[in-house]
Symmetry: C2
Subunit: 368 residues, 2 copies
DNA sequence: CTGAAAGCGCTTACAG
DNA sequence: CTGAAAGCGCTTACAG
């Protein structure tokens, strides 16, 4: 036992180390199985033809030692990893959670794993996530976020690994982009209400800025609304917009509280289903019935839409298709000379029970 | 433009490799900055006192090369990693998604990162997740799942790294367990209904088996229900139970469809909020009002509870407290001689608007 | 079918 | 404050 000063306990382990038993390594397995280290590696990876007898000896040794190959050592020695980095905004948000799930399944079909990072809408965290993934020598990276960070994008592009981005404004050189037709989706939503007979429309949107620019997906939804309204202008539409301050349901609820009595509406279109959930709450708190008094349309087709009361009419974005595009973009990258590949992802309206012909009586509802 | 043969391009890259530019390594940075490799490492890790001038030269070189340390190489060379492995059942489920989020924040406070794996309730995937995490030489592992796999548990324990499990039946030697007081929570839920005056109770539970055993958390909820009913037996309660076949909202909806007209109830208690969401739907499809006709109580306090119509009375499990316990169990493990450390996590009832005094008229509702 | 050896890209004493 | 060298635990030609 060595002498040490009183300050540092003489049995202290290195910082971070705990009292684990020593981790067995491949050499331990080889010794126990009386084979060489290369042989153990071969049975672990299914390479080479190892006799059944040897293989069994090795397997037994592995089990009895509780051996697990060290990920870092094996990936360092290996040429490539079979993992796709996935950056999403937030896992609480059903759209991202469902997309992450779909991505994992799609990647699995190509024998790849997903390494998942959430940014919580923070550009700093997006950068950190990208750096961490790049350090992990991933096979490709998908940035499926609503916010976008220029630095993070530069890092990705500079790395030269295959990449794909969701909803950015234009094609990216040597990368791929997936553009969701949010504009068309929103347009369809508004037209649906108009065709049902609604003339007094309220748009609950979130124009919160990220890095000084409005999210493209939200901008497209704005445009879709405007386009539809313009197309039916001759019908004498009365439209109003409420801006909310965040992606939460609470904001949707507050939006309604502030709009009621101030503006007239029989149909509401919202930026996301989560916001629509808050809108339901706001409406119901004022004893307004959906769809008898007010029709509501959401956006995203989250899992819970079918279970709201009434089930929410919404615009669907297929997570499966999105995942297929993303994985294809990463695993079958175009020739590097490419100007940037772009995928288009359609949306479609799913009509459920939250929308109906407006009640003429309630149409006159206005400021008290 | 180079000539290539039609079949095998003579410039073909090794399989798995794509056309990335060569990844810079620490030596490249050192050369560019005219320092030694050890110096670069020191500035990367903030070790040693490097002169500001040198540090800047190194930083510039890093930036201009787009250098990212290789995670595998650095972790291989390092003694320990600062990451906690977290295994959850499913990320679609709000309870797990919210817990994962809380764990990440709590771990962050201790300068640790989370490596997250979802099992989708599959024991095989649980085992695979554990193996992958063990290969990653994590500092500790938290198994926060509703299903449990014996093999996975053995692997964890054999590894000797600090571990913590949620909701297992008894303390685990050399490990830690967190027991949620689901029994007490359910008991409180039932008592709440009884005290409001409900005498006809329906329990919508999920007794689906995993590996031949009912989930402990569900068993405890069953017991809580039974205990409460027994305690108030003298009041002449009429109780019924419907078993559903899965964790989804659909199952809850079907449960109600099958119960209505067959049994009498004015108050419903459900195993989870997600199921309660389906129950709402089932009730509302039959034009039954909540809480005027039927009161409903959920379990978990998912994000969406506040936004259902009406807001759902439920039993809350604190994700923050759970995370604190888990991280403490991992980062401040008891002496290895310990018999197994156990934490108890309380639950509490949150009364919202889905429960009320029963309407005497609807109490008599029964089979047609 | 098996073994010895080089090398993956870092970190970390250690010597200057 | 800086540099040369050993070593982390694997994989993968290569030679038998």
């Amino acid at each position: 036992m060595k002498m040490k000063s009183a300050k540092t306990p003489n049995l202290s382990l290195p910082k971070g180390a705990t009292s684990h038993r020593k981790r067995p390594k491949i050499q331990d397995v080889a010794t126990l199985a009386s084979v060489s280290l290369g042989t153990v590696s071969a049975v672990l990876n299914g390479n080479g033809r190892i006799s059944a007898a040897t293989r069994n000896r090795v397997r037994t040794a592995i089990a009895s030692l509780g051996y697990h190959p060290d990920l870092y050592a094996s990936n360092l020695a290996r040429k490539s990893t079979q993992v796709i980095g996935l950056v999403v905004s937030n896992l609480q948000n059903p759209f991202f959670a469902e997309t992450a799930q779909a991505m994992e399944e799609e990647a699995g079909r190509h024998n790849h794993q997903i390494s998942l990072m959430a940014t919580n809408f923070s550009p700093e965290r997006q950068r950190a996530a990208v750096e961490r993934l790049l350090g992990a020598r991933i096979a490709g990276i998908a940035v499926i976020t609503s916010e976008h960070d220029q630095d993070a994008r530069k890092l990705v592009l500079a790395s030269g690994i295959p990449s794909v981005f969701l909803d950015v404004d234009k094609p990216i050189r040597n990368s791929a982009t997936i553009s969701v037709d949010s504009r068309g989706g929103m347009q369809a939503a508004v037209e649906h209400l108009i065709k049902l007979g609604h003339r007094d429309l309220l748009f609950v949107r979130n124009s919160e800025k990220e890095n000084g620019t409005v999210l493209l997906s939200h901008k497209l939804r704005d445009e879709g609304f405007a386009t539809a309204v313009r197309a039916y202008n001759s019908l004498g539409l009365n439209t109003n917009t409420v801006d909310i301050s965040g992606p939460g349901a609470d904001a949707g609820q507050r939006a309604i509280a502030s709009a009621i009595g101030r503006v007239r509406f029989t149909g509401i279109v919202t930026v996301t289903d989560t916001v629509a959930m808050g809108v339901y709450r706001g409406l119901q708190a004022r004893k307004l019935r959906i769809p008898q008094d007010v029709s509501v349309v959401g956006f995203d087709d989250a899992y819970f839409c079918r279970f709201l009361n009434p089930p929410l009419t919404t615009v669907s974005i297929s997570r499966e298709e999105l995942s297929r595009m993303a994985v294809e973009a990463l695993l079958q990258p175009q020739l590097p000379s490419g100007r940037g590949r772009s995928f288009n992802l359609g949306t479609h309206l799913i009509v459920r029970e939250s929308t109906a012909t407006p009640n003429t009586k309630s149409r006159t509802m206005r400021a008290g």
